[in-house]
Symmetry: C2
Subunit: 212 residues, 2 copies
Amino acid sequence: MPGEELSERQQAVLDAVLALMVAGEALTMNAVARRASCSKETLYKWFGDRDGLLAATVRWQASKVRAGNFDRQSMDAGALRESLSRFAANWLTVISSPTSIALNRLAISHAGSHETNLGGIVLANGRLAIGERVKPLLDAGREAGILAFDDTETAFRTFIGLVGRDVQVRLLLGDRLKLSPATIAADAGRAADQFITLYGTGRPAPAATLNA
Amino acid sequence: MPGEELSERQQAVLDAVLALMVAGEALTMNAVARRASCSKETLYKWFGDRDGLLAATVRWQASKVRAGNFDRQSMDAGALRESLSRFAANWLTVISSPTSIALNRLAISHAGSHETNLGGIVLANGRLAIGERVKPLLDAGREAGILAFDDTETAFRTFIGLVGRDVQVRLLLGDRLKLSPATIAADAGRAADQFITLYGTGRPAPAATLNA
DNA sequence: TCGCTACCGTACCGTACGTTACGGTTCTCG
DNA sequence: CGAGAACCGTAACGTACGGTACGGTAGCGA
């Protein structure tokens, strides 16, 4: 299963599954076949069974999200804040997207009961993947003397908390939370400032920015 | 439906549903009837249909969680930190409990599709309820000159983020996250210290405490 | 004791859906 | 052009499960 290449047609089928998920419609094999204009026999031939189809869909979406690492450019306080803010805004945009919400709902509803652990895939490609990209940034900040912390993981988790707060859970539970680009940008900047206040070695950001 | 009193027997039935949820077994009407030693006919008579049963279960669990408000005692910096830390530890204990995880998974899997909004009930009794208890504490701290912020809601959400980080989502996705009482106590204290560093008016907590 | 109510246990019904089977069409390759 | 593969559309099968019906029993008031 892993390492398999997906043909264009197969990718189109998985996109159809994603479309169904986002639309909130039931993920039956009939619905997928109809939406993708393919036969059920083909679905079973390509993906084995329903769980295989859903797992392939989750992996397919995960493979599409890969986005830019930070460029280890000049590491001063301003660049650090900018990079943190950009990561935060990017992550907030992702977790508030209908696709991410639908995918996480699916993975959570399968967690525990099913043996095909969609939750593990989502965790590996969401939470862990962003960690692997942010932690080098934090380490670079520490090496540059801008940040001070003992454990990178702990610092990263604090950052995640400041950025996301309870947004993801509320969205998953159906809370009508409006995250406009402006709101996201403001929250990202606030989180970056708060993080630097907690872990920075220089003077903290002005209070006016914090208490907005 | 709301305002109805539950008989002892009915409460026992709902506890049986909770037991099934926590055990990860399927929530079929047959399974509930068997576990609760009652007839399906009775289930339908009492709760209308399956959604009514699940909604009653969520409400029943929510009614059991109500826990102590803070006592507006002497409001100095130490007492504030202690109260914040206690709230944080309490909340972490709740969201990491098997019952809470199972309940949130159920509510999330129903969000969007079903019209019986379990997510709304969970939100109202979880996220919003703790907010209504913590915010007066924050306001008291501000009135006492210990804290400084413009918007209580924003400050509260920062606190929530510092306490929970991504713990809840990871647990919902099936991450094997071990939250021992010692870990919870440490995380609660760290979150309280960080919050006071961000929003306190006095000198920040020593760096050694922050970077643990 | 008679009737009534509430409830248990079980059998039953209808539907939804995962899965399989099959006929028909298009494409590829020799 | 002929054979086979790949695939579409649809029909069919089996089961799981929500919901209903019904017989049997215990308690209770008259």
